[in-house]
Amino acid sequence: MIGTKETEQLIETLSSYSKERKNLVPLLQEVQAKLGYLATEAMREIASFLAIPEVEVYGVATFYNQFRFVPLGKHHARVCMGTACHLARGKLILEALERELGIKVGETSEDGGFSLERVACVGCCMLAPVMIIGDEIHPKMTPFKVEEDLIPYKQEFQEESSSEEQAGEH
């Protein structure tokens, strides 16, 4: 379920578009950019705004790779699976992340700390294999480097969640 703040954001987004069918994908993109994912309620609202069947919105949303239906983790990790990264053993990087984060591709960890996705080529082929965490590109990865590179992100998340917990106790 999305909260009141998200609903407001959604209404604001919708009001900046005209009710044309060609705006469906841009709307889905902007809503996802704001909410972090496509909540069911959001897709329903878009359907009624454009006066098209809900199933069409869902059909288009599930067709494209860009759209997600679960919230992302605080740190979103992507592993490039382009040709150059594949040849440079990119699959091992993906497996290493799955092991280290305890989640499978497409999942978000239970504590909301990390999510993991595979992407098809980010165009940094000379730095293969690469992983991207947030906006940061990590070049020339090895399974060992995955462990090392994750440490600061894990620490940051732990510190944040413990300070949030403390704030909650007060």
Binding site: E20, R21, K22, N23, L24, V25, P26, L28, Q29, G59, V60, F63, Y64, N65, Q66, F67, M81, G82, T83, A84, H86, L87, R89, L92, E95, A96, R99, V119, A120, C121, V122, G123, C124, C125, M126, L127, A128, V130, I137, P139, T142, P143, F144, V146, E147
Partner: protein, 639 residues
């Protein structure tokens, strides 16, 4: 404002810049990935710390990705120097040396942009540039992509002025005579496409630029859009005028945020100067361009699927004819070309059809832009006249295969292309020669492979990609490619039989013949070419359960040679990500085959003087207990 005035203004801005000291830093996606932003920050800090006044300009990519981050220092009274691999630590040295002083720091330089220095090479004379001819890329990395005046001062938009004084038919004739063919891969003659659209009945007409560069391993369109976007916009406006369209769309993938940002700026600046919009140059011709963002679907690169995507539908292709030139966007005549096709148009208008058609081969005119990646020393971008050979590209431009390994194959054109072996290295790079060899020019993405790459694994990789990206509309592509993938998977894990190879070829031919669009129609190419040129590797997997390149994990095992292990070193134990390497200090290290995930870390870290880790294939070469453990490990993974 007349164009003359706009041009004068731009030229005077450019001249003022040349009369001052300034710094160029490449911050296209590849530069950023290599750490250009940290270098940029260091430059800004150091300039302000030293209280030096020098402008920093963020530029696109020169195509020398292996040397990023690249920094160029330009001084009015001296030669320009390009520095490579500039880390933040080198910044103070450069600023004190060449900006504040007269020491050009040539030991850190890739070369100079003006000749005459003995210590550093003159960049245009670097051996790779002898083979290159940069037309579409010639401004990339030298001008500010976010400043339209840089483009105009360097020849931009004068072709539009010329074109608007011509009749549309004259422009089309010129494009036809130039021999330009579509740069998206299929190579349809551009002038003919323009003529169809010009003659087609129906209003309004549209122009669409296909910037949905989806081939993994191809990034030249991204580089063009990030480094010099105005040339594409200029080409589109000329196209709009030639076919009498008033509205254009650029369909660009959402995975390219920087390209999108620079396009947005470029469009806004062109509108502000009246080069785009209503009544351009007082000609009465109006043209507008909107961006449409792709949402991540490889099939959207197919022209009919792309138009469905712009309309907000699921991006699935439809049968042709009718072609987009007759019935495209919203059923109206639509001129659809690739980024580089449009980028070539201003050049053809400016320098003429004869000049353009004098470059290249009989059937393929002009230049081709390639991305070179994989197992090459100097990865990056190259623009060469059509007809250069694969060998020239791989060895003279990309610097050959690293680490003394031997070349095995080069993959051209992504999932639609094929893998070509050593014996075909002298194939000229043009549309027709490559098609004959079973590959295609496609997007121009080129990935080199060496002895450590398994060709069956490569075919499986591409099929895995196509099955994921198949839109599902037609059966041969949706199910055919999946069945092919299953066979390939069986081969890589050693479960296939000899007769499966015939079935694979049969399926490949069917998928090729029966698919609705080029995605399915070309998907079997990686399989067919690897089977044609590397059949021995397939047979080794099937008959001997052996992966010759020692890649496929089910057929390969890592093993520590007991008599070579140094015992007191623990590199392998400490770095193994699954704690599969056992052995106390002073003991011989042993790999627990059940836990091993074949990542090769132990082999990478084992000091070269010991070289104790080897790869074995078939796995029956392991001692019996290890083999049993390996088999348990494989069984667990399958479960």
């Amino acid at each position: 404002m007349t164009f003359q005035k706009i041009q004068n203004q731009a030229k005077s801005e450019w001249e003022t810049l040349q009369n001052n000291t300034y710094i160029l830093i490449g911050t296209a996606t590849c530069g950023k990935a290599a750490g250009a932003l940290a270098t940029l920050e260091a430059l800004e800090k150091e300039l302000s710390r030293q209280n030096v006044d020098a402008k920093i300009i963020q530029v696109g990519c020169m195509g020398l990705c292996y040397a990023e981050p690249l920094v160029t220092i330009s001084k009015p009274d001296s030669f320009r120097v390009v520095y490579h691999n500039v880390t933040p630590e080198l910044v103070p040295r450069l600023i004190e040396g060449y900006i504040m002083g007269d020491d050009p720091c040539l030991e850190l330089a890739l070369g100079t942009l003006e000749g005459g220095e003995e210590e550093a090479p003159y960049i245009p004379e670097l051996s790779r540039f002898e083979h290159e001819l940069r037309l579409v890329l010639h401004r990339c990395g030298y001008i500010d992509p976010a400043n339209i005046n840089h483009y105009i001062a360097n020849g931009g938009y004068s072709s539009l002025g010329k074109a608007l004084k011509m009749q549309p038919e004259e422009i089309i004739e010129k494009v036809k005579n130039s021999g330009l063919r579509g740069r998206g891969g299929a190579g349809f003659p551009t002038g003919q496409k323009w003529e169809f659209c010009h003659k087609a009945e129906g209003e309004p007409k549209y122009v669409v630029c296909n910037a949905d560069e989806g081939d993994p391993g191809a990034f030249m369109d991204r580089v063009v859009l990030e480094s010099d976007p105005q040339q594409v916009i200029e080409g589109m406006i000329i196209g709009g005028y030639a076919v009498s369209a008033r509205q254009g769309y650029i369909y660009v993938r959402a995975e390219y945020p920087l390209a999108i940002e620079r396009l947005e700026i470029a469009l806004k600046q062109a509108e502000e100067l009246g080069l785009l919009g209503d009544n351009i140059f007082g000609s009465g011709f109006s043209f507008h361009i909107e961006l449409a963002m792709g949402a991540g679907a490889f099939v959207s690169g197919e022209e009919t699927a792309l138009m469905a995507a712009v309309e907000g539908e699921m991006s699935t292709p439809r049968p042709r004819p009718p072609y987009p030139a007759q019935a495209g966007l919203w059923g109206k005549p639509t001129l659809l070309n690739n980024v580089k096709t449009f980028a070539n148009i201003p050049l053809i208008i400016e320098r003429g059809a004869d000049w353009f058609s004098s470059i290249g081969t009989e059937g393929s005119k002009g230049t081709a832009v390639f991305t070179l990646a994989g197992k090459v020393n100097n990865a990056g971008l190259a623009e060469v006249p059509m007809g250069k050979t694969l060998r020239e590209l791989l060895y003279d431009i990309a610097g050959g295969i690293p680490k003394g390994k031997s070349f095995k194959a080069v993959q051209i054109g992504g999932p639609s292309g094929g893998c070509l072996p050593e014996s075909l290295l002298d194939t000229p790079l043009d549309y027709d020669s490559l098609r004959e060899a079973g590959s295609m020019l496609g997007s121009g993405g080129m990935i080199a492979m060496d002895e450590d790459n398994c060709m069956v694994d490569v075919a499986r990789f591409f099929l895995d990609f196509t099955t994921k990206e198949s839109c599902g509309k037609c059966t041969p592509c949706r199910l055919g490619t999946l069945q092919m993938l299953h066979i390939l998977e069986d081969i890589t894990v050693g479960k296939a039989e000899a007769k499966d190879l015939d079935l694979l070829i049969e399926l490949a031919e069917d998928v090729k013949a029966g698919s609705l669009c080029a995605l399915g129609g070309t998907a079997p190419n990686p399989v067919l070419t690897t089977m044609k040129y590397f059949r021995g590797e397939y047979e080794a997997h099937i008959l001997e359960k052996r992966c010759p390149a020692k890649v496929c994990p089910e057929l390969t095992a890592y093993y520590i040679l007991p008599d070579k292990c140094e015992r007191s070193c623990e590199h392998c134990v400490l770095t193994c990500p699954t704690e599969a390497v056992k052995g106390e200090k002073g003991e011989i290290k042993v790999i627990d085959q059940e836990k091993c995930v074949n990542c090769g870390t132990c082999m990478d870290v084992c000091p070269p003087e010991y070289n104790a880790v080897i790869k074995l294939s078939p796995i029956t070469q392991l001692p019996p207990e290890d083999l049993a453990a390996k088999e348990r490990g494989i069984a667990q993974q399958v479960a």
